[in-house]
């Protein structure tokens, strides 16, 4: 078998052994996985469609009906099953969160590596740009941006706007983190050696820097996911989501607009709130544990695994 595969397999097994013993990490993984599974298998988890109105015997719509056998989490202001809304809402919330998170991760890593590795004016330029974005309060900026972009009458769904705006604004912390890590790695002996034997920038970044910071990127991505899901919920709650494709935030927005609190319909606003906590808490727990376990500052560098090859000719 390819030795590289063996190495990867060994690393993964090692990782799993450590991870298995970390209860926080397991809990986080459980929360995230269940949320994803609910989103993927939404149609199997409920007999209704999200726009279906529940009716009583006379065919009248059952609005704000409390939880029952037919509707385990009750019905909302339009007589729809809240549980159905919840599992279908997971699709939108998680999709927006994941896509925005990946965009942020990609931009953040690109900027971080470029700035850290090349230094000089490139570093200065990128870091000042990061600083500018860091000092502007995020939520007001996002609100203004989303509202402005929506005014432009682009022929895109409000969700695409949300994804892009969150993705294009939330890369700053990743960029700073990655940059500082790259700064320390590029000064290491093996990088100098590689350069001495004529390795190019691309080769060094790909072979020596990226593998070192990859775990950091992974951990950071999971953390950004939680932020992205939270921001999406916040914006949707403020009415900037897509009301025709309800996410958890949109459900809260409807609950608020349609007086679920005055009606005592706790089953309408509590589940989406808890679902948001469920998903973000999962991401935070998982991300923190991954960061702890994978942080290269705490672990040995990747050449150690190959040391035996070097010393035993």
């Amino acid at each position: 078998m390819n030795p590289r595969w063996l190495l990867l397999k060994r690393n993964l097994l090692d990782f799993w052994k450590t991870f298995r013993r970390n209860r926080m990490g397991l809990a986080g993984a459980f929360l995230v996985l269940t949320a994803i599974l609910a989103a993927v298998f939404a149609p199997l988890l409920t007999p209704y469609t999200p726009t279906e109105t529940m009716r009583d015997a006379e065919g009248r719509a059952l609005t704000f009906a409390p939880p029952s056998v037919h509707a385990p989490l009750g019905t909302d202001d339009a007589g729809r099953d809240v549980w159905t809304q919840l599992v279908y809402g997971a699709r939108i919330s998680l999709t927006v969160g994941f896509l925005a998170g990946f965009i942020a991760m990609f931009i953040g890593s690109l900027f971080g590596i470029t700035a850290g590795y090349f230094g000089g004016w490139v570093d200065n330029l990128l870091m000042r740009l990061t600083d500018v974005l860091l000092v502007i309060p995020d939520l007001p900026l996002i609100l203004v941006l989303v509202a402005t972009v929506r005014q432009l009458e682009l022929k895109v769904s409000p969700l695409v706007i949300l994804i892009l705006v969150i993705g294009l604004l939330y890369w700053t912390s990743t960029a700073r983190l990655i940059r500082s890590q790259v700064l320390t790695i590029k000064e290491r002996q093996y990088v100098y050696r590689a350069r001495a034997i004529g390795a190019g920038n691309w080769h060094i970044v790909r072979k020596h820097i990226l593998p070192q910071i990859m775990p950091l990127i992974v951990a950071n991505t999971v953390l950004i996911l939680s932020t992205a899901i939270l921001i999406e919920s916040g914006l949707a709650f403020l009415g900037l989501g897509d009301p025709t494709q309800p996410s958890w935030g949109t459900m809260l927005n409807f609950a608020f607009d349609r007086n679920a609190v005055s009606n005592g319909a706790w089953w309408f606003y509590l589940p989406p709130g808890l679902a948001i906590i469920w998903a973000t808490l999962g991401c935070v727990l998982l991300g923190n544990v991954l960061e702890e376990m994978l942080n290269p500052r705490l672990a040995s560098h990747h050449l150690e695994g190959e040391q035996s090859i070097v010393t035993q000719p």
Binding site: T51, E52, T53, R60, A61, T63, F64, D77, A78, G79, R150, Q151, E153, P158, G239, D242, P243, T244, F254, F256, D257, R258, N259, A260, V261, S262, N263, G264
Partner: protein, 545 residues
């Protein structure tokens, strides 16, 4: 950060001050304050350029017009004591009441009335909010301090109604404006009027309007000392404020909270049939219109429109979306206008019948495709279904319509659009298929009928359907100048029939008017078929002893 703290302090101080105002009622010397909550706010207090209902609620209390609508629905004199018109209907002579004074103490004269009316006639752009009420007016004159003479170029059938919307303003406040833009930009935060209450402060940031009773009001001063209007961003907070007694009255209870409010102790919730309606707008802009409309051509087919009408379960919309606080609608003139006099009762609504909808489309040659969407000559029954994003009801309506339409082989894609963008996309660009929106008609049908006329389909106009029917336009002009009530009714019934049959609008429902007040604190609210009428009620209410 510093400025934010400062803001918090200001809000705290304001809150303390406000709650201090609210402690009234203990001693006999304490001023009596009625605190009203609402979720809206006036756009401006300038009657020349105000468009929101909330603005007109304030105008009704602070300004006066020559006439006003009584609780019975009849038009009676307000500033005017009596009036006559010449036999040809072209000259109207009004005699003013005595002892009318402006809020600043100056005497009110007939020349103030003439000035206001002439200003509107001279600058219809600047006075855009009220200029349609002076259509056919030639001029107003004040031969003496107590007499106003208005001359018309043709007789007008609804003179008293029109005059009830022309608030007489204090000329020195408005004389300074030379261009329509200057007039439109005037905010008039402390209006000088002749009405029973005068605005002492209008704080847009806090959303608070304070109005003091005007002791010298010519029809007798109010029994309370002050009214405050507080804007709530969230209706749940408003409902809770009513429950605990932070406010005494809510004048726009949301449908979804009404049942809850009815259960509150010491609160009286009043539901009356209202005239606000919502409709499905079908793009009716003629293909040869300039600019050319962008729509699915299938919408021009009357059979498609009929099928759409068959595929809408209006009762279900009323049940689920309005929480049963309204009735299904049919014509653009709601039954509440003029006590039911103008609504055409002979119109038979199209029943909800999906198999009928399918049969109509089948017969018209629209064949069901493999993907469940009907098609004829390459034209698929696939429409945009848009609605303004500021309305919490319409996303629900859009979802329900989409589900029914699907059963009939019509595919609609709901989309929420910012209201300003949606308007500019519709009028006069005609770039839409189906839109859900609503209207709040005036007590007289004239306004809502004008919405369907051809010449309103211009930038800034009221028409959003692009309905163009020369016969209808002519009838609209006819009803304006028909003085005989029965003859005018016949014309208006005919107009409703035309709109109903051509279906530029499919009227979905008429909303109930929902208001509530603290019955343990105040008494004397006038409940009429028009709901709790604000202007007359505020003159009557008094604290419960």
């Amino acid at each position: 950060m510093k400025s934010r703290k400062w803001l918090v302090q200001v809000i705290l101080i304001a809150a303390v001050l406000l709650s201090a105002c609210g402690q009234a009622g203990g001693g006999s010397q304490e001023p009596v304050v009625l605190k009203v909550g609402w979720t809206g706010a006036p756009d401006t207090l300038n009657p020349a350029y105000a468009f929101l209902t909330e603005s007109f609620t304030i105008f009704d209390l602070t300004y006066s017009a020559l006439t006003t609508q009584a609780v019975s629905g009849e038009y009676v004199g307000s500033l005017a004591k009596e009036w006559t018109h010449s036999d040809d209907g072209l000259t109207w002579t009004f005699t003013l009441k005595d002892n009318i004074t402006w809020h600043n103490g100056e005497p009110f004269t007939a020349s103030d009335v003439a000035w206001t009316i002439n200003a509107i006639i001279a600058d219809p752009d600047g006075w855009a909010a009220v200029s349609n009420y002076t259509a056919n007016f030639v001029e107003a004159a004040a031969p003496d301090d107590k007499t106003v003479v208005i001359t018309l170029d043709t007789p007008v059938g609804n003179m008293e109604y029109r005059l009830s919307w022309i608030y007489i303003v204090y000329p020195p406040d408005f004389e300074v404006f030379t261009t329509p833009e200057d007039l439109q930009n005037f905010t008039n935060d402390t209006p000088t009027g002749t009405g029973p209450f005068k605005v002492t402060s209008f704080d847009k940031d806090l959303g608070v309007i304070v109005m003091d009773a005007y002791a010298d009001y010519f029809d007798g001063a109010a029994k309370i000392d002050q009214i405050t209007f507080q804007t709530f961003d969230n209706s749940d907070a408003m409902i809770q404020a009513l429950k605990v007694g932070d406010i005494d009255m809510v004048i726009d209870v949301p449908q979804s909270a009404f049942a809850t409010v009815e259960g509150f102790e010491n609160v009286k919730a009043v539901k009356t049939a209202g005239s606000y309606f919502s409709e499905l707008i079908i793009n009716s802009v003629p293909e040869d219109f300039d600019p050319a409309p962008n729509k699915n051509p299938a919408l021009d087919d009357p059979q498609v429109r009929l099928a759409i009408a068959h595929a809408i379960n209006k009762q279900d919309l009323v049940d689920a979306v309005l929480q049963n606080l309204g009735v299904v609608g049919d014509t653009i003139v709601p039954p509440q206008l003029g006590g039911g006099f103008w609504h055409n009762p002979n119109i038979q609504d199209i029943p909800f019948d999906l198999s009928k909808a399918n049969a109509v489309l089948e017969q018209a040659g629209y064949v069901m495709g493999a993907d469940g969407v009907r098609e004829k000559d390459g034209v698929r029954l696939e429409f945009r279904l848009q609605f303004p994003s500021d309305n919490p009801l319409y996303p629900r309506v859009a979802d329900m319509l989409t589900a029914w339409f699907k059963e009939a082989g019509i595919k609609t894609t709901p989309e929420s659009v910012d209201p300003d963008s949606l308007y500019s996309q519709m009028t006069p660009a005609g770039n839409y298929d189906l839109v859900i929106w609503g209207w709040g008609p005036d007590p007289d049908p004239d306004f809502i009928l004008s919405v369907m006329t051809s010449d309103q389909f211009v930038d800034g106009g009221w028409s959003d359907s692009g309905y163009m029917n020369p016969e209808y336009d002519q009838l609209y002009l006819d009803q304006q100048v028909t003085v005989d009530k029965a003859a005018r009714q016949a014309i208006i019934w005919k107009m409703q029939e035309m709109v109903f049959n051509d279906r530029p609008y499919i009227v979905l429902w008429y909303e109930d008017l929902l208001r509530a007040y603290r019955s343990d604190r105040f008494t004397g609210f006038i409940e009429s078929p028009l709901g709790i009428e604000i202007h007359h009620s505020m003159l009557q209410v008094e604290p419960v002893q």
